[in-house]
């Protein structure tokens, strides 16, 4: 017993997903100012940006959240990083509920283990700091370097890791191109030796050839350091390349979540299919496009029932009144009455017909 105890403890630890999100919800108060509300008798208005979102990310895996503007994917990223507080629901990191941590020291130790990379490499780097100081900042704030010498040695090492020259540390952000700046952001994120990186559209502002460089770098770093990623993107092709699991969001909710290969081989939810068919067909195989009507509805006044029903070609009466829950379906999870009840034909059935 005593002999196997440590092994089983380690095993149990490995079984706990590194990051788990349970029923995460975030409301934003977007009401008019108090005086307007009094005079115009306008009610308070609440925008539910993230609505009952749950997922888990295994160690070394990459979960991608995809969706169009305003679907709540970036809000999820910010909630996990602690930039917003959840309205309800919980975020577990390595089995620890972040909301339960009262001790500031423990919180700092936890926070050190995850970092964030932002979309805009122009806005996320302080223009008045040298790159070396930008990269070393997390080391300073977490007290991870003994002295200045160790600090600049580590900064040089980090820059080399992301494919920059150690001498680049003396330069300022404006001297770098967009792709190089994103490398600086990645070096900064890696400086505290995190296990988990939240990447919010890290390549959306970059040109395709530079995007390929950054995606390759992120994959290399993941392999070398055993990193776990939450990858936020609106680009399905990028997501199919980098992720192991994909969650598709629509109006604050996850409508489908599945292993990447499964999702792209057989998209279930009509919204996922719509997104997939909207990707311009570079191979020009002549595959017919499913025409997509309509736009994302106003999140302040989401449709009743399934939020996608006004745009869904398959919607029936039930979809307009009853909101579908995320349910397991053939190796995936999908929130769609039609798929679960079997009255929406699956894509592969269409193909064989």
């Amino acid at each position: 017993m005593a002999r196997s105890a440590p092994a089983s403890a380690a095993e149990a630890r490995a079984k706990v997903p590194l990051v788990e999100v349970r029923n995460l919800t975030r409301d934003f108060d977007v009401s008019r100012p108090w005086l307007n509300r009094m005079i115009e008798r306008a009610p308070r208005q609440v925008l539910r940006a993230v609505d009952d979102v749950s997922f888990a990310i295994e160690r070394g895996a990459t979960l991608a959240l995809v969706g169009e503007s305003g679907c709540g994917k970036s809000t999820v990223a910010r909630l996990i990083c602690g930039l917003y507080a959840p309205t309800s629901g919980s975020i577990l990191f390595d089995g620890v509920d972040l909301a339960s941590v009262r001790d500031r020291g423990q919180m700092l130790r936890l926070r050190r283990r995850f970092q964030m990379i932002f979309q805009d490499p122009y806005a996320s780097l302080n223009p008045r700091w040298r790159v070396r100081d930008i990269v070393a900042e997390p080391l300073r704030s977490h007290g991870l370097a003994r002295d200045e010498r160790a600090l600049s040695a580590r900064a040089g090492e980090l820059l080399a890791q992301v494919g920059l020259a150690p001498g680049d540390g003396e330069r300022y952000p404006h001297e770098f191109s967009g792709g190089q700046r994103q490398r600086v952001s990645i070096a900064r994120a890696l400086s505290s030796n995190p296990e988990f990186l939240v990447c919010d559209e890290p390549t959306s502002a970059l040109d395709v050839s530079v995007q390929a460089q950054i995606l390759n770098l992120m994959k290399d770093l993941q392999r070398q350091h055993g990193l776990t990623y939450l990858f936020i993107s609106h680009n399905l092709a990028v997501v199919s390349h980098i992720s192991t699991t994909v969650g598709v969001m629509y109006l604050g909710r996850i409508v489908e979540i599945a292993p990447t290969r499964t999702l792209f081989a057989r998209p279930l939810h009509p919204y996922t299919r719509m997104l997939e068919s909207a990707i311009p067909d570079i191979e020009m195989s002549g595959k017919p496009r499913t025409p997509v009507a309509g736009e994302v509805p106003n999140p302040l006044d989401p449709p009743a029932g399934c939020a996608f029903h006004p745009r869904c070609p398959y919607a029936r009466g039930k979809c307009r009144v009853e909101r579908p829950l995320l349910e397991p379906f053939e190796g995936a999870k999908v929130a769609c009455h039609g798929v679960v009840e079997g009255w929406i034909a699956l894509e592969r059935a269409v193909e064989t017909a």
Partner: protein, 339 residues
């Protein structure tokens, strides 16, 4: 061959600055046939937007055209006085820009803007122009156009605004539309709608399009021919199928390889090392040679012009008759596919 609708010859645009003069585009030549869609692709700073702006005479001063000429239906338009150019813009050449919000005046209803544009260029009375505006809004897919015509731009969503901008660009029945990144600011599902719409309308009206974008996917879906730009020059131009499936310039091949595709399982994406040079540091010879895996001596000293290469034309010495050899194909390692 019929007379081209638009002909650009050896166009050069320079931006003088205090210290030196930057050349944004240099020696750019191409033609667009009536009703044809020419895609212009390239990465940020390649000069694709400057090319579009030069054609419609909207280069921001102090930038100016310093060489070459632009011919619209055989008539030179790059040296026209501003007043005459203004009459061509909107009437014979329409424009669609990336951000629909900045192309619309927030203080006027979309109806007022459409009617004003039409009445500036066409002999229509107010009632007829309004009727035509409603018809046009319906054509671009705005629901309830007779009611929406009196709304202001802020009352439309991004996708709907871009539809209004398309209606505005087409309202005087131009022969050519210059669309500069028309779908970049939009979500994917809306992007597909706008591309389909633009394509359909231009086919119906017989309008030629110069489509400027960084998105190869959009080009593949829309264009008849494509010009690939790099560091201010066209490096390859040809039928879209040929350029995408059988690129002849190493840069095009690298660019195509670096685009991730859904369902393609690659451990790593083929990447082009380095980045595009800045305008003040364009290398001698072929601007791509420092990043090119197949560069040889000649590339470092002599600048290549467009040369016939298989089904396209590429500015690459690999295609010079004297350097022709059985291996002279610009394959990007295993990235490029034969045939």
């Amino acid at each position: 061959m019929t007379v081209p609708l638009l002909e650009v010859r050896n166009l050069r645009v320079e931006f003088p600055s205090r210290r030196r003069t930057l050349t944004a585009i240099d020696g750019v030549s191409f033609e667009i046939a009536p009703g044809e869609v020419l895609g212009v692709v390239g990465e940020s700073g390649a000069g694709k937007s400057v090319t579009g702006a030069a054609i419609i005479g909207l280069i921001e001063p102090p930038g100016r055209i310093t060489a070459g000429e632009v011919l619209l239906e055989g008539e030179r338009i790059d040296d026209l006085p501003p007043e005459r150019m203004r009459r061509i813009r909107g009437r014979r050449i329409g424009a669609i820009f990336q951000d629909p919000l900045t192309s619309l005046n927030p203080l006027y209803t979309i109806g007022e803007q459409l009617v004003e544009t039409m009445r500036t260029h066409l002999a229509l009375d107010a009632a007829a122009a309004r009727a035509r505006a409603i018809e046009l809004l319906g054509e671009v897919g705005i629901p309830a156009p007779e009611r929406r015509i009196d709304h202001y731009p802020h009352q439309f969503s991004g996708g709907m605004r871009q539809r209004v901008v398309i209606a505005l660009a087409l309202c005087a029945n131009p022969r050519l539309v210059i669309a500069d990144e028309p779908t970049t600011a939009l979500d994917v599902s809306i992007q597909a709608q706008i591309i389909t719409l633009l394509k359909r309308l231009c086919r119906e009206h017989g309008t030629a399009v110069m489509l400027v974008t960084h998105d190869m996917g959009v080009i593949a879906e829309t264009a008849d021919r494509v010009a690939v730009m790099y560091a201010g020059r066209i490096v390859e131009i040809g039928p879209v199928q040929a350029v995408i499936h059988d690129p002849q310039h190493p840069y095009t091949a690298g660019l195509m390889g670096s685009i991730p595709a859904v369902g393609e399982e690659l451990e790593r994406l083929p990447q082009i090392e380095g980045s595009m040079p800045r305008l003040d540091a364009i290398p001698r010879g072929c601007a791509f040679h420092p990043r090119c895996p197949r560069a040889f001596d000649r590339c470092r000293v002599e600048r290549p012009e467009l040369l016939a290469a298989n089904r396209t034309r590429a500015a690459c010495w690999l295609h010079a008759p004297e350097s022709a050899s059985p291996r002279a194909r610009p394959g990007w390692s295993e990235g490029a596919v034969h045939g």
